[in-house]
């Protein structure tokens, strides 16, 4: 794992001091509210519906036990004893007081963390595959590159006042778990025909009110050209991006209005100018960063107890069926700890749960934890022989929900319970769906199914790329939920199609139930997932299930 150098440490301390002064200068009138706003945003501080919200970066979703314990301490000392993990691998505290925020930032700096550029019209926290460094299908660990991008983008003088926010994601695996095609820039680590490592660069993806799948701007970019190329893209966007309409200001609109060919030509032109500016220091630094991400020393041991426990304990078996992923090292597995207990708020963890996870990581997980964009916590390196003990501890802490990838493993934005932008509630809908399917005991029968819920058109809940997406809107003061079908967030990314008119809050759960019923009825066999069935059958049988009265009326 990467540890802060003296430079990083001095930087974040200086930044906290600056922010402390900015808060004081806001109070004494040196800064107007308009001027203070972007400054607090670029330090992660939002003004929410009820209070301030502090969004802390967990760069590329990686943290160690000490950092996790500090997140718990911050939750206890300055918030209400819990935190909310987000779809961008951040953690949010929903109840801080403005005057406490500089102290919270100092506490983060104590463990090599910060809240810089988690908001505002800046380059945001860089996200990466949450299985990085552990997954069996990986070409290379994307985190060193993500750390390099973190350093490059931090306080970048040209890019602190962009037309709009800017998100970069990196994946090192052909199975894209980082949703790279729905980012402003997506980077896929690839090897060219002679085996040299580089990137496929995707630009102009995004969800929000105008969802778009990104386009390939460069099919192979040599590794050493990464920073000048990124700088060229953002530079072109900074000048060309629209500043007259915030809903048309993202790079996806710039690319679609300019045309990918013209946009590429401008980027390549600027890239030529910038290439010589990087004299190799970035690559030396990258090499040092790579060393700090060297894989832990995996042990070789037998794991008969794992197999025995599976036979003896059906609950353990269910957990290991759903919550494990294959690890690159023999005898190891990746454990996803679901923060989606049926009826709980997706992504929330109490300070006690955070400490349990920290302890588990320290004792059984080579001191590593990950946060996934699906709002779960991951123990990336657990030996199978330790799993029965890990499971027992998780169960005690209420963290052993066996639903990863299933219908109740729902991504939901904070919605109207917290967010000032929201037009409808998201969390209660997620809770009701999870509770209902838990009652029906159908979850494992249904198999892999991704439901994603956004409480407004800005799509923080990624509903466009949910197999079933739910978008909460406000229709004349009444919450109304639209359903999209067939979305996909992986390397085969697709924006879901709107099924038809929306449903009021009390009809959305029955509607999802009918939808799932149609899938179970029409699938070829248990091996055909919801998405596969949808792709084979098209939307008609699903729409028919969603709107039965309408069909009856048409027939009559």
């Amino acid at each position: 794992m990467y540890h802060y150098t003296e430079f990083d440490e001095a930087f974040v301390r200086e930044r906290v001091a600056q922010f402390r002064a900015q808060v004081e200068r806001r109070i004494d009138g040196s800064l107007t509210e308009d001027e203070f706003r972007p400054l607090r945003l670029m330090n992660g501080l939002y003004l929410q519906l009820h209070a301030y919200m502090l969004r802390v970066a967990i760069p590329y979703g990686t943290l160690n036990s000490r950092q996790m314990r500090q997140l718990a301490l911050i939750a206890d000392r300055w918030d209400k004893g819990y935190g909310h993990f987000t779809t961008r691998q951040n953690i949010q505290y929903n109840w801080p007081k403005l005057q406490d925020v500089p102290d919270m930032l100092d506490a983060l700096a104590d463990v090599g963390m910060h809240a810089i550029q988690t908001s505002g019209n800046t380059i945001r926290n860089v996200t990466a595959d949450h299985f990085a460094g552990a997954a069996g299908d990986e070409i290379a660990d994307p985190r060193p590159v993500a750390e390099l991008i973190r350093q490059w983008s931090t306080d970048h003088p040209e890019f602190q006042f962009l037309p709009r926010k800017f998100k970069i994601a990196v994946t090192g695996s052909p199975n894209d778990r980082a949703v790279t095609k729905a980012h402003d820039i997506g980077l896929r680590m690839v090897r060219n025909e002679v085996g040299v490592g580089g990137f496929e660069v995707i630009v102009g993806g995004g969800l929000g009110r105008t969802p778009m799948i990104g386009e390939v701007i460069r099919d192979f970019l040599p590794q050493e050209d990464l920073l000048p190329y990124l700088e060229a893209i953002v530079s072109v966007y900074n000048l060309l991006g629209r500043r007259d309409n915030k809903y048309k200001a993202r790079i996806k609109i710039t690319v679609s209005e300019t045309g990918i060919e013209e946009f590429r030509a401008r980027v390549e032109d600027q890239f030529e100018q910038l290439r010589g500016e990087f004299g190799g220091a970035d690559q030396e630094l990258l090499a040092r960063i790579e060393q700090s991400f060297a894989a832990p020393e995996f042990r070789t041991a037998t794991f008969e107890n794992f197999n025995a426990a599976r036979l003896a304990n059906p609950a353990f078996r269910a957990f290991t069926d759903t919550n494990l992923a294959s690890h690159r090292a023999e005898g190891y597995c990746i454990v996803t700890v679901s923060l989606k207990a049926h009826g709980a708020t997706p992504g929330d963890a109490t300070s006690d749960q955070m400490r349990v996870l920290a302890d588990l990581a320290e004792t059984y997980g080579h001191d590593e934890l990950r946060i996934s964009h699906e709002q779960n916590v991951i123990l990336p390196h657990v030996h199978k022989s330790d799993l029965p003990k890990v499971y027992a501890t998780l169960r005690e802490a209420g963290l052993a929900t066996a639903n990863v990838g299933l219908i109740s493993d729902i991504i939901a934005c904070p919605g109207m319970d917290y967010c000032a932008l929201a037009t409808a509630r998201s969390i209660p809908i997620a809770q009701e769906i999870a509770t209902r399917f838990d009652e029906l005991k159908l979850e494992h029968e249904i198999g892999p199914l991704k439901i994603k819920i956004s409480g407004c058109i800005n799509a923080c809940g990624h509903h466009h790329v949910g197999h079933i997406g739910i978008l909460g809107l406000d229709r004349a003061g009444v919450e109304n939920y639209q359903i999209t079908l067939g979305g996909d967030h992986t390397e085969t990314a697709v924006i879901g199609e709107r099924a038809g008119p929306g449903f009021p809050a009390d009809e959305i759960v029955p509607a999802i139930e009918r939808l799932v019923g149609a899938y179970l009825e029409n699938r070829e066999d248990a091996g055909e997932t919801f998405l596969a069935a949808y792709r084979r059958l098209g939307p008609d049988p699903f729409k028919a299930a969603l709107y039965p009265e309408k069909e009856t009326a048409d027939a009559a």
């Binding site: 040196s30 001027e35 390099l148 350093q151 306080d155 040209e158 900074n238 970035d282 630094l285």
Partner: protein
Amino acid sequence: MRPDGTLPSRVIDLNRCYAHHSAADVLKHALTDPQVGRTALVSSFGAESVVLLHMVAVANPATPILFLDTEMLFPETLDYQQSVAERLGLTDVRIIRPDPEEAAVRDPQGLLHRTDTDACCALRKTAPLHEALKGFDAWITGRKRYQGGRRTDLEFFEAELRVRIKINPLTHWAPGDVQEYMLNNRLPRHPLVAQGYPSIGCAPCTSKVAKGEDPRAGRWRGSEKEECGIHFVNGKVVRGPLPAPVEEPQKEDIMATEDTVIVTDTGFGPEDWAHGFATPNTLPATAGAALAVDLSPDADLSVLDGRLESIDMIRIDFPSFSDGRGFTLARRLRLKGFHGRLRAKGHVIADQYAMARRSGFDEVEIAAELARRQTEDQWLARANWKAHDYQARLRA
């Protein structure tokens, strides 16, 4: 006796004190009021100068009179100067001329006015006057509100820059008042007035004015120039060179007297660029004279291709601090090899100073209002912009 109190507060008090006085009263008191200090009359001995010369002669004929001989004047003016001084009994007329060495270097053929009137005024008027005014606390001018332009709200007393009071006894006079005063006091007229020159400056840059034209229309005819650069109305220097400060500046005075403040790593300073700003569309065809260019945030930099070598300064506008295009423009100009001065102008906040410097800007030009709100210490706090710079490490 030296005046006490800061310059802006003295000016406010003086204006309050003399608010309803006549021109002659203001002048008489100004010459004796210790709050004004050592005072000179600067006179061009032009079309209307005789009015103030007469008033001064009545009040105190030993008052120092500074006459600027630019060495470009009409011979009639030089004659007129001598005869008026004698007739009014002025005992301390000091003739101020350009520095001969400077003139030999910068205008060896005396033709500078053809290519760069601003530079010519700087050499022949502003710099010598500035030199001559050292040692004075105040000076008297003949400017009037009705002359319009930047003079419409002129007060009796103005704080000029941060070093001196400027006294405008005639500011409230109406167009006919001068003629009436001259008639009543039987004062001699400048001989060129009768030949159609209602406003008289240097010979090359003064032309006759037709009936119905503005009396000052004959000055620098055919150019946008309105002021020679020795006048800074309300402290604002829009055209013309600014003398370097005589004394160590007091920072609060800058904001009281200047509309804009230039921020550098050493803090606040006054405008020191004296040659105006062109736009990409009004770039002179030939290189040579001092040249600065204003760019808007949506400027197409390719219009400057091939011209960057000949440009001394580029000033990029920030219409709003949240519009970050200027940072990228600055960086691109540096990448294109621009080595001149690069200035960010407009709504740039102290928190962006480090970003501006790292993007390639040398300095920031802000409004005095912003400088009062975000004081110098807040900008100096980011003068350490070279520290904690991730990008510099990565580019090495």
